[in-house]
Symmetry: C2
Subunit: 397 residues, 2 copies
Amino acid sequence: MSGSGRSNLVVAQSGGPTAVINNSLCGVIEQAKASSDIDRVYGARYGINGVLGNDFLDLTEESPETIAKLRTTPGSALGSCRRKVVEEDYENIIKVFKQRNVGYFIYIGGNDSMDTANVLYNMIRERNLDLRIIGIPKTIDNDLMYTDHCPGYGSAARYYAISLKEVGLDIETLPTPVSIFETMGRHTGWLAASTALAKESEEDAPHLIYVPERPFEFDRFKEDVRRVHDALGWVVVAVSEGLKTAAGEPVSISRNQANVDNFGHGLPGDVGSVLANTVTESLGMRARSEKPGLCGRSSIAHVSDTDREEAYRLGTMSIQHIVNGLSGYMMGLKRERESPYQCSIEQVDLGKVANIEKSLPDHFIGADSNWITRDFKAYARPLVGGKLPDYVRLLRR
Amino acid sequence: MSGSGRSNLVVAQSGGPTAVINNSLCGVIEQAKASSDIDRVYGARYGINGVLGNDFLDLTEESPETIAKLRTTPGSALGSCRRKVVEEDYENIIKVFKQRNVGYFIYIGGNDSMDTANVLYNMIRERNLDLRIIGIPKTIDNDLMYTDHCPGYGSAARYYAISLKEVGLDIETLPTPVSIFETMGRHTGWLAASTALAKESEEDAPHLIYVPERPFEFDRFKEDVRRVHDALGWVVVAVSEGLKTAAGEPVSISRNQANVDNFGHGLPGDVGSVLANTVTESLGMRARSEKPGLCGRSSIAHVSDTDREEAYRLGTMSIQHIVNGLSGYMMGLKRERESPYQCSIEQVDLGKVANIEKSLPDHFIGADSNWITRDFKAYARPLVGGKLPDYVRLLRR
């Protein structure tokens, strides 16, 4: 690789997709194709599996029109994986990169991917190899440290804010008394919290929000639901799929061994359904649940323009930095200004960010553990992009 | 009422909302305010409950801007209900209408509402009262007879087609092997069938679609999932919430008495969740489920332009007809032309349409009972409106 002048670039996507993850990919490809330091642009098929299996797409050959369309395509266009990279894998990764004359590696992913990138980076440094690595964060969960927020979060948050508002109008005008709206978020409440953006007045949905940062108490939940129902006649509750009891038990957990991911994380079951049944059985009220699931991270109609542009910019900037010699960093976002909102790009040591989860801070969670504060709304509002829809109300005028 | 010249109009909404039900309401209000035959325009709050409780909004007083905003507002803006109207109620309805000098009644609703309107119409005719009634159909379920389709269906179908396509891209690129995508539709498969519009090639999601018109067989389902998984490595299955076994048992039914609606209909439980567990337990594959629930009938971002315009036009036309003397009819839609698609408005006897359900015809369901035919797609395509999003694929080029 060294001494040859131009070398090749590999880009890979890892973990769960976001609605804008292909914007980062698009930025990487467009900027890399324009760079005189980079020869071929290879996309690893299905994340690190593609590297290990020497299974690449030559993206240099794709038309600009195809690459541009990535900006409005959900899923991970290169394919993704959740493979836990083990020690012998790293040797093979380096072997494949040498064979292919790869001098640059861009890894778009979350916690686990930044860990992989960091281990690889340390090996490269020890062996003094001419291979540079940059990580681009993505996760709807928004749980990476040392970045103001994660690309992908703003669009999922916009999805949840708008969808919760719409479900609220549906429930309010047709009194099925209770809806439990389940958001993604296995360990943190960033996504459940985003539904708070739907609420403008006291009567608006959501009336209650429960996040995994606080132990979930069934009795307290039932009291909360009854109280809101007595006051309004209808209740919309937002819950994170990752809710746990004080004993650390998931409020609902998939029963089967098959439903454990490759990192050994247990997968949550249907919390919304469990809690709707709790309401029906204990309070005798009709209750239903909504679980948009993957729709929440793949809806192009709900993409945040801010999120889309940031994801794209991290892609282009990662190439500018890597050809200038940067390696071993994740491209973080730093909030420079609140109004008008502005973020700059910040270099974060891969070693710092790997395998740490950022939870909702205390000042974002209401004192009663069933509500989200104004501080959170001020933080999240610019991330969800343009104006939220303004619906009319005849009943409450 | 008679002899006074101008009399008042009551409009009410009933049953579950659609994403465009307020377009019909908007058309009714705008046209009624413009009519010299109509004095005040009253909206009954919460459906027939508002009539019985003499609880009305005076919509004549609302600004044109507010009324226009109804076109992009989900839910039933007047409030809705599922009240089963009993014999003594009808006397009270007539009493309230007399007190308020109501000469015109527009009822926007589904099966049950058309039944209510029909009973009322027969009483009026027997007593020779000067009160006219027209029904405007609405239901995402698309299960009313004597109309080509129901306003509200096209938007829900567009929602499901786009969402299923997006979930398919997510699942395909990150192989969680199986997703069960649950649509609404308690008794008929029109909504589950609409996901077929997402599929352009054999490999595209959805790979399997199950509708309540065919008995659901667990063993057959497991074989189907395994077969697709062996071929592709991933499977997206669309299921209707109303799936039943050959014995007529719901595949999943909410256990509780509280979850029975006021017409005595049992409410389905979480079919997607039940079938995802079946896949995990029986086939040992990771499986998840998506249940957008009420999001499917309230997402303004997914409204079909065709559906929106038809819903609005039924509203305006109902006023034109009722002031011209029409009564006792539902405003149906008749397909006049396929290409370019065109529908005219057809008058349907309320007595004909009440309480009958339209199922998917046999030629819309594949011979294996796990697929939807081209005939259905040809029928449904114009209803979902403008172009469906065209996503790019790198992996399968």
